[in-house]
Amino acid sequence: MLDDTESYVTADGRTIGGVVLDLKSITLRFGGVEAIKNISFDIREGEIRAIIGPNGAGKSSMLNVISGFYVPQEGEVWFRGERRPQMKPYEVAQQGIARTFQNIALFEGMSVLDNVMTGRLNKMKTGLWSQALWKGKAEREENENREAVEKIIDFLEIQSIRKTPVGRLPYGLKKRVELARALAAEPTILLLDEPMAGMNVEEKEDMCRFILDVNDEFGTTIALIEHDMGVVMDLSDRVVVMDYGRKIGDGTPDEVRNNQDVIDAYLGVSHD
């Protein structure tokens, strides 16, 4: 077992650092329902960490705990070696954690470019008035941000839809735009909630390539929820498996694949 601060090099030559985000004994309740039951796991710097599990296992809730949207009743979130106090989602975002949503949450009436620009909001320092007048510093700032956004548009190969309203795009492309918006915030940790749900094989392959490229080019740590087992096993360095709010497996894809509890949860086993 690795020490929390040790780093190692993967088979394909990426360096995985020490633990950056540590979740300790998290329990989350909605009234009487326990969505997450005493779960602990960590995410290392630069790795691709998958959270998998059947429907209703509590995966999205887990992601929402990380992003600060839900406040767990018990347990602690440690970020870069310090215990994270209770935070609003925007404060979490300022720490460099960005996310995409399971049900696409883009501004449908706005163009792709404008949607991605909203991802830069945390980087804008000028006030409402100077932005409205668009003089001096505000103009410079917009140009800088636009440049950053254009690099992401180029990276995700969505130049041809730059000016297209998001509402007119097919599903697969919307997902890509959402990824672009999350990337615009230049996150150190990226949370992806089912980035490939509802996509066809080709779109999935594209998305996989983009996720790997993001991890490789920007060194972004990625935590993702995904249903497609093939994708998860190919993509991730380590996998957490959840079932009914419990953690039933944690390890490399191979370890998880051979875990009897995981097999039972996925293939079903009689509960008597």
Partner: protein, 656 residues
């Protein structure tokens, strides 16, 4: 053959033309590329600096005189610079089709013995690495886009930026040797080698000299009065001779600006932003645009639709005449001027044609309706007939003599003769040097006097002196009753229907003709949507009874038109089927320039042809398909075979 030599003092190779342009227009834009949403531009002076840096970097990597350097990627200034840099080093650039699968690339890379390969991005690097498992001559791989390349073994791999940086750093070291290599280039040294996609057999490497390229560029630029302030959009494959002539030959000769789109998908937007003044496209591009315009107009509001219809009628009636400078009544001129304000102007602007002064289409026949549509808008669209072996130009249409059914008069400097069997031969300063490492083919195509066989059958029209092409000479055959069989003639009539993407007609040595049809998914899909026809796949839509019925009507209309021709009236289609898959270059059914490979289709779908002749009503078939990444799969389908009515053939009018 008389060889005209360059007037003394005139540039005799492309690097010299570059130097001349730097002296003439140092601060004029020479190249533009849209990147990160902004048009970046380089003046002739800046471009020359880049080219020199790349050339020196290539020397640093050990590029020898006479080496072959393959280039694979989409149109980007860096590729054009690299080609000139390669020439400067005394080596030969060999641009390849970027969408070719690894297998096809392997053949060409092996055949030309490329030592260096310059590619666009990671995807192509992967292809080259795959090729290197069987082809061993490749010493260095150079790539443009650094993305995703960090983890690769870089022992023999470099980013072009780094190559140029090394060239800059070693400027003093390489200055002398680069000058020496350049000085050795003469008018007859090889300028470029281009592989023809070939409708039969393996691709052949066409060697074109500086003489070929420069003389051709000069003649054609004079013909159309191209100037330094013209703008072109470079979006056609760099491996195609046309792009080399336009984006390097003519651009270097006249000094005009070459604009590269951001990506293939943004081409239409980029074209609108640039507004090229000189434009070239295969008929397919014009067809697709027209189909899109028509679809969008059908979805438009009643006012717009009516205005469009009303003014397009005016344009159709008088537009071409106005464009050709023929007399037109004042009332019509007024109506056309109003139409220009309300319809044609905005439409041309949307399509990016506002500033087109000279437009060409070639490669395939273009439908008269499509051709007339663009001409009636006031776009000077013309046809030319050309070949890689001729450095493009054989015939072209002069301004004011433009028609959809001819390919024009011989280009300046070109002589043409028609052989007894109808095959067209030409001789010109643009005639290629040889097929690389293929003396037999060279001898078969080019005779001792420099006459080149085109492989096309055609004739000069009485009166106008325009050339008309009937078909590939080897495709022209005889029907069982002895009448002439020219499949292309019928296929072109069919392809002019927006719903039909491709047609292949069979009938050589048979008693009647049958046809395969490919539907156009955009047009038929839209039609299906408007008529509430549900479908889940291309295959299902293609076999829908209503679609088959619609295609039958098209076939019968085409038959009626074919019947008008006394010579070719026997080629009417008796039976047809709609194919369950689109013909595809990846499956070898089309060439990379999207021409039908008749023999291969005939072999591959032999069962379907037999069924058509056996008068069966339907047939079950399995077809192998190749996916973009080279994997293979199978599709199964049961196809409906349909009959079509034919008309009695018109008799030739006896001259009185």
């Amino acid at each position: 053959m008389t060889k005209s030599s360059a007037p003394s003092g005139a540039p005799i190779n492309v690097p010299q033309l570059l130097a001349r342009n730097v002296a003439r227009f140092p601060n004029k834009a020479a190249y533009r590329e849209k990147e990160f949403g902004i048009w970046q531009s380089w003046t002739w002076a800046q471009a020359a600096e880049e080219i020199e840096a790349i050339a020196m970097g290539l020397l640093a990597l050990g590029l020898n005189k006479g080496d072959y350097v393959a280039l694979i990627g989409r149109n980007r200034p860096a590729f054009y610079w690299s080609m000139v840099a390669i020439q400067k080093c005394g080596a030969v650039p060999v641009p390849l089709y970027q969408d070719a699968v690894a297998e096809e690339m392997a053949y060409v890379l092996e055949h030309c013995g490329a030592r260096f390969v310059i590619v666009g991005d990671q995807e192509q690097v992967d292809k080259v690495l795959e090729v290197q498992e069987t082809v061993h001559g490749i010493d260095e791989v150079i790539y443009l886009d650094k993305r995703g390349m960090r983890k690769y073994d870089h022992t023999h791999m470099n980013a072009l930026d780094d190559v140029a940086a090394e060239g800059r750093a070693g400027h003093y070291r390489f200055e002398a040797i680069l000058k020496e290599r350049e000085a050795e280039l003469d008018y007859d040294s090889t300028c470029v080698m281009l592989y023809t996609s070939g409708t039969t057999g393996k691709p052949k490497g066409v060697v074109l000299s500086n003489r070929n390229i420069i003389e051709t560029s000069k003649n054609s630029a004079d013909f159309d009065h191209l100037k330094a302030d013209d703008e072109v959009l470079a979006y056609l494959p760099m491996a195609w001779v046309g792009d080399f002539i336009f984006s390097i030959g003519q651009a270097m000769w006249t000094g005009f600006c070459v604009n590269c789109p951001e990506s293939a998908e943004t081409m239409m937007t980029d074209m609108r932003e640039i507004g090229p003044s000189y434009f070239f496209a295969p008929p397919r591009v014009f067809e697709t645009q027209l189909t899109n315009v028509m679809i969008r107009m059908e979805d438009a509001g009643a006012l717009k639709r009516n205005m469009f219809k009303r003014y397009m009628d005016v344009a159709r009636r008088v537009g071409p005449a106005i464009l050709d400078g023929k007399p037109v009544s004042f009332g019509d001129r007024l109506a056309y001027a109003l139409g220009n304000i309300f319809v044609y102007g905005p439409l041309k602007n949307t399509l990016g044609f506002s500033r087109v002064r000279v437009g060409y289409t070639a490669g395939e026949a273009i439908g008269p309706e499509i051709f007339d549509f663009y001409r009636s808008l006031g776009i000077n669209l013309k046809q030319l007939y050309g070949q890689t072996e001729a450095s493009v130009f054989i015939t072209q249409q002069p301004d004011g003599q433009v028609r959809s059914d001819t390919v024009g008069v011989p280009s300046p400097g070109v002589e043409i003769k028609i052989a007894d069997n109808g095959e067209v031969f030409y001789r010109s300063p643009g005639v290629f040097v040889e097929y690389y490492k293929n003396a037999d083919s060279t001898a078969d195509t080019k005779d001792a006097e420099g006459w080149v066989a085109t492989g096309d059958a055609g004739f000069f029209e009485d009166g106008s002196g325009h050339l008309r092409i009937i078909d590939r000479a080897k495709d022209v055959g005889k029907m069982a009753d002895g009448s002439m069989f020219a499949p292309k003639f019928v296929e072109n009539k069919l392809k002019f229907y927006p719903n039909i993407l491709e047609a292949v007609v069979f009938g050589n040595n048979r008693d009647r003709c049958v046809a395969f049809i490919n539907i156009d998914l955009t047009a038929v899909g839209n039609w299906a949507e408007r008529n509430n026809i549900a479908y889940s796949s291309y295959q299902e839509l293609s076999q829908h009874p209503k679609v088959l019925e619609m295609i039958r009507e098209h076939v019968e209309e085409a038959n009626a038109s074919v019947a008008q021709d006394p010579m070719l009236g026997g080629c009417q289609i008796h039976r047809f089927l709609v194919l369950h898959k689109e013909l595809d270059a990846d499956d070898g059914e089309l060439t990379r320039t999207r021409k039908v490979r008749r023999r291969i289709i005939e072999e591959k779908f032999d069962d379907l042809i037999t069924a058509l002749y056996d008068n069966k009503d339907s047939i079950y078939t399995e077809t192998e398909v190749t996916y973009e990444d080279g994997r293979k799969g199978k599709i199964k389908a049961t196809l409906d075979l349909r009959d079509a009515k034919v008309q009695p053939v018109a008799r030739a009018m006896a001259a009185e």
